[in-house]
Symmetry: none
Subunit: 130 residues, 4 copies
DNA sequence: GTGGTCTAGACCACA
DNA sequence: GTGGTCTAGACCACG
């Protein structure tokens, strides 16, 4: 889990995004427990209050459910919901980019090229990370 | 110029983005004056201080130069710089979407579909606006 | 921290200069927090918005990094950068004086005398302040 | 006469400084006329109102005296006053630089070095201009 | 508690 | 008319 404290996107959201994507990807399956607040706090050296806030967000989204004294568990429809949410985020990012391109008068061909280039770059990033 | 005061992206940044795209698209050419702070303030009903902040950003980016008592003028290399910046923003949006998709384990085919769908949707939006 | 509200140099710049010099002088070291906006505002009786503007400048210069909810911290290379910037400011002031002297046809000997005199005067000022 | 419309120092002040230095340097001697507002305006492509403001400043300083329908003439004590003013400006610039250096904890030796270096640089600039 | 944004309204300097 | 600075006071997001 990569936390970037310099980023403009708030830390609690970074954590929530990360776990949401993990649920969507099947790392945590329905019925399984996600890492405890304390565990995540220790691993990321993020304030427990901040982690708590991320988990609240996930619970409000219905992806996980807190069980007192036990932990937070992925709900039955959590995996599906996480996928949907993630796909929406992806679509929103694409739409935003395309809208900006149109507004700036960037030609369609260049937009397509930019997309393919971004694709290659991200794949390369991933490969390097491994 | 569409200002969304509920958006998470600050108003001054929305204004700056808007004018940057207009410069990139050739609406304001090098040597020409962009609308005065007061004019933009009136048109958007945004406080002049906020508009000023947006314009300050553009000046820091080197797209525009302020001349007291005269106005703010697009610099010689402003058009090029605005295009570059706009393209970077587009690429960044795409990369962000692709990264999120990979993290969520969304298959490549689905990502491509999402992109094409976003494309169609944005084009439709544009058509409706006209 | 001496703020001169009558000076032609804007207050926010005076504050930025002051803190930049303090960082250069090692008062605030890398990793350490500079006084909060509110604290500086209270101490100087300058409006928080104005202080914020000064701090924004320092962040743009890369001397300091803002972390929401925590404060603003001197960056690793902040100390070096502050020194460099301060030295540049000193050189610029000297160059400006020398250029003016040449333009006014003031003889070299007189310029040197003026420099030594300024030196003595400033040292005396400093002694009085203590 | 070099006018820098991008500079932070206002144009009317640039013009006034320039003429003041010329008077100090003996380019315009007591009793002689300085260039008319129209002439300066044409040569610098600066708005006549702005030139007028510069000339007003010089008159208030007692360096020149307007004679209706004839022009502006250097006063008897104008040369001396211009020299004094110019020297003051030089001293002020030096004092400002030295003060900044002290505040930033720059050691004396480095300040002296910076001065000598600035000296050499400015001399070189002048040589290149010719 | 921290920083970030916005509004309202004022005043100044410049051309 | 133009841009630039400042204050006052408010609200938000973050940790």
């Amino acid at each position: 889990m990569n936390i970037d404290s310099t980023s403009a996107v708030p830390i609690f959201r970074q954590i929530a995004d990360d776990i949401r994507q993990a649920i969507a990807a099947g790392v945590y399956k329905p019925g399984e427990m996600i890492p405890s607040i304390r565990a995540t706090s220790l691993k990321t050296t993020v304030n427990p209050n901040t982690v708590q806030r991320a988990y609240e967000l996930l619970e409000r989204e219905g992806l996980v459910r807190a069980r007192k004294g036990l932990g937070m568990f992925v709900t039955t429809r959590g995996a599906r919901a996480a996928q949907t949410r993630s796909e929406e985020a992806v679509s929103a990012a694409f739409a935003q980019g395309i809208r900006a391109a149109l507004a700036a008068g960037i030609p369609s061909t260049k937009v397509m090229t930019a997309f393919r280039k971004a694709w290659r770059n991200v794949r390369k990033e991933e490969r390097l990370k491994t």
